[in-house]
Symmetry: C2
Subunit: 342 residues, 2 copies
């Protein structure tokens, strides 16, 4: 009846154990809790594994142990420079560790996010990194009931699911406006694209700052659900000028829009900053080398990814960070595009 599914020269843990003269379970322990082995056996297993070129079978390990060494990462976009930096941080932190990454793209949809979450959790990930704090109620419930470290990234807020690392988009935006006000600007326009939750909070920060200064005017705000681009920055800026021709500054929710606005100014022969001040958000690399250099709000994206991944690892290794919520802050980079008019 049953025929062995013979696997010829394959190197399994059994082979390593045999060569090392120990039982398979001891060899197994070498890879998981080496400190539990006597020094002699540890060395024997190590050299046997190296000699045979043993590579553990992760599927078997996952099946037997009921868990994986995969960290799931959920981000809304693959093309956005911001997330590219975050991802690089995550990959750098996890590179060389035992953990690997499963990346999925929610496309800014929390329903898609929920679907992907279920998919992930069914495979029992070691940890989870999710973007933002606006999950569906179901997503939240799922994550709260699951027993693995979870880090919410990009922003901070009350009641983290588990851990959190980011900064306040509201405060960052308000600080940018405060800077423009300090430069003497009064009619400060707002350009927003995509309008995901974090951009929305930047709008809130803008509005709060403008209201505090008694300068808010709905005609100053131009937003769209369309994804951001440099070209869109020009278009939105043109729309803004049509609604409020008397603006003396514009705050853009990201640097692409800011660059687009700058180009639109060029096209219209409007002097930056003398006629119009421009401030962007994120401080991408090009902001400091454009002409004029563009002011922006620097955010620590690479660090965010790296530290989020590190928080996951530390928790898994039993060294849970003392503080579950980390505020990475921001800094307003004041450059030529918003220099005080002389």
């Amino acid at each position: 009846m049953a025929r062995k599914r013979i696997t010829p020269g394959k190197i399994r843990l059994t082979e390593v154990a045999k060569l090392a003269g120990v039982s398979p379970i001891t060899a197994s322990r070498f890879f998981r809790t080496p400190e539990a082995l006597s020094v002699g056996k540890r060395a024997r297993v190590e050299s046997a594994a190296k000699e045979l070129g043993y590579v553990p079978n992760l599927a078997a390990r996952a099946l037997a142990s009921q868990r994986t060494e995969v960290v799931g990462v959920l981000i809304p976009s693959l093309t956005n420079n911001v997330f590219a930096d975050v991802l690089r941080g995550i990959y750098d932190a996890l590179d060389g560790s035992r953990y690997s990454i499963q990346l999925a793209n929610t496309r800014y949809s929390i329903l898609q996010e929920e679907r992907l979450l279920r998919l992930f959790l069914a495979q029992k990930p070691a940890g989870l990194i999710v973007t933002g704090i606006n999950q569906t109620a179901d997503s939240r419930a799922i994550m709260e009931s699951v027993d693995c470290p979870i880090v919410q990234i990009m922003e901070i807020g009350p009641s983290p699911i588990d851990m959190m690392i980011g900064f306040s988009h509201f405060d960052a935006s308000r600080a940018a406006i405060a800077h423009l006000l300090a430069q003497g600007c009064r009619r400060i326009g707002f350009l927003g694209a995509r309008m995901d939750p974090r951009v929305q909070r930047r709008l809130d920060g803008y509005q709060a700052a403008m209201n505090d200064a008694a300068l808010f005017d709905p005609r100053l705000v131009v937003t769209t659900a369309v994804p951001t681009s440099v070209t869109l920055g020009g278009t939105l800026f043109a729309d803004l000028l049509a609604k409020a021709p008397d603006i003396d500054a514009v705050f853009c929710v990201n640097d692409d829009l800011a660059l687009g606005a700058l180009f639109e100014c060029k096209r219209r022969h409007m002097a930056v900053p003398d006629q119009i001040a421009i401030v962007g958000f994120n401080d991408l690399e090009f902001m400091s080398s454009s002409v004029p250099t563009l002011s922006s709000v620097r955010t620590n994206r690479y660090e965010m990814g790296r530290d989020a991944a590190t928080m996951v690892i530390e928790t898994l290794e039993g060294r849970r960070p003392a503080e579950p919520v980390v505020d990475l802050g921001f800094s307003v980079m004041e450059r030529q595009s918003s220099a005080r008019r002389s």
Copy 2:
């Protein structure tokens, strides 16, 4: 002695089979080869699975079947816009399919690539997407001996490992130079960063075109191993001007450098294109909205990723593409920055 490791309410294939009134193996077949079931059982298993909310255990599946449904993707950079577009194509194509993606970052090192390759292949991926055609001899040997579809992306060349999709960087570069020559430029500089194999081939194309026109001069070439950035574009352009003050055009191996060169021209009050023509490479979104608009070589990055993933899937489903090497071509986008001087 042996105690059952009881798993209480967990839904396994057995539970689904029981509810559907079939054997586990029949239920299993429903998920792999539904067409092999009778219509009645198919419906019964389907509704049972849905009722119980069954989610297959991928680790068990992988262990039993000796293969996974993971497509490994090896790219050199996570922050480069070019790869972000490619990745988006890959994710889009695989989204909704049964396959998932394992992404790894080689950081432009073929040794790192080889290491990651071994890691991947030990887990028996369903397919593989790797960047470029310059692998180590060992990497190549490993991939040739492995039995899964492999697509090399970004460029095309002789002797594909399996399949290939991309375009000729040499030809694309030569076409860009031909365009500049046609615009009347004679002293055409070359700006290169990172100098990975594909950039090197763009340099080769430049050199061939310049030699054909008897215009090549080594002083026109400025390259560096440093990773690209807009700021670097300005720096390299300044270096170029120092070496060859009489240039009338500059070809940049990517758009970041081109934008940086444009800004440097602004800083030096050099008129573009009247004094200096600029052409970039990749045709990122911002190229068409800068002032002046920037000429570039459009490459089909999203399509490359999408089609590469599709080629993998098609092969796995037994519909191997007739043509293993796909040339996606390119097009020279002629814009203001290289318009014929009047």
